[in-house]
Amino acid sequence: MEKETASGESENTSASAHHGHAEESFRSEVRQAIGLNPAKCYQCGKCSAGCPMASEMTLMPHEMIRLVQLDRRDRLMQDESMWLCLTCETCTARCPNGFDPARMLDGLREMSLRAHGENAPRRIQAFHSSFLDQIRSHGRVFEFGLVFAYKMRSGALFDDVLNAPGMYFRGKLKLTPHTIDGVDDVRRIFDACMAEEER
């Protein structure tokens, strides 16, 4: 199993580079990267039955797991469904065989980003990037700055504009950020985690 880390370099180039790696299947790559064995899922569908987002997904949770089992990387990584998971953990709490679908979907999203995949809906991707930028800049999330950055990234300029005065008058909108003393500490943690990911 340890030898599989050698393939890490090809992950950074592109998804198609993997086709040259006949030895390593997608399912073993997932197992290596996430630390879960996809074979543990016996396709009962309990995860999808309780999933609050299943009705909006083209691939339901048990179908995504099945595609991993079948090494169908392209089919899975082209689809946005993994990004619609809210990590409500209902699937993980109820899996009769102790699998952790919520953790697997987190891991698949990370794998998709690493391979520069473009399956994330623009707004969701914009939100995550804006959110993490806030932490890197201030150590905490400055909500007004988050909304502003998100709007610029996503193009959703006029969403919620009508709620802004209501939030302001209820004292729910702070206009200046607070930056923590240890922000350099936080930036170092970010850099170390990103570097670790590249390896």
Partner: protein, 297 residues
Amino acid sequence: MKIGYFPGCSLDFSAKEFDTSLQAVATSAGMELEEIKDWACCGATSGHATNHLLSIALPARTLALAEEQELERVVAPCAACYSRLATARHEMAEDKKLFSKVTGILKRDFTNSVQVMNIAELLRDNLPAIKEKVTHPLKDLKVACYYGCLLVRPPKVTGFDDTEDPSSMEEVCRAAGATPVKWNKRLDCCGGGFSLSRTGSVIRLGKEILEDAQAAGAQAVVVACPMCHSNLDLRQKAIAEQTAKPLEMPILFITQLVGLAMGISEQILGLNRHFVSAQPIIAKATVKALPAAREEA
């Protein structure tokens, strides 16, 4: 004994009323909270959905700071923060390789010894002290206790209550004199972090939750998470566009409900900060206040 306090980014501002009501209730019940100095964001969904190591290392820094302050327990009132801190603690305890990787990144002496608690757990564990301070029991008030996702799931991380049939929030509301209703959607997801990025999903899920609470006869929904609060309160106007008539369902933080029963002022509890007015509930609390005040005199 001192309890470490991790407010998290929402309580720092948009959900300030959760912070002020919690502090007031804790003081009244004799709990001593000490804020973790210079805490950073837990990373929330954007952390764990994009970088697993970061999603562990960010909360680990906060847990390390708590250790430096010699705190044995930390309460994280936001359910999402609670989940990230408790998950980090759990994963580092289970996976020694991950733990040593994280300590290498943190560059701090860190033993992963701090217990992580959520607000329902903290209040439930202090019920006798809370009951003693209840002067204005909220009789006749029917509430729907809404747990949402992360207080009770996944069980290997949370473990303070039953995953499919929890009772701690109901116990706390009963101590405040209110009557919890039986309903179906108390463990369903509100849409969490999709408030901005996929608002349609949040409205769909919120509508199902609030309609079920109303059908069960609830006069208010009690929450223990700022995201649940925002998705059910701020988004209720948008939900109303899809219902025959507005739901007008007040959404209260559990600490606000307990605070009302303790006779703490509505200014301190921040009850004026909600989009759906909590006045009908405040009125109930005030009516009940009179006999209690007479007894004292």
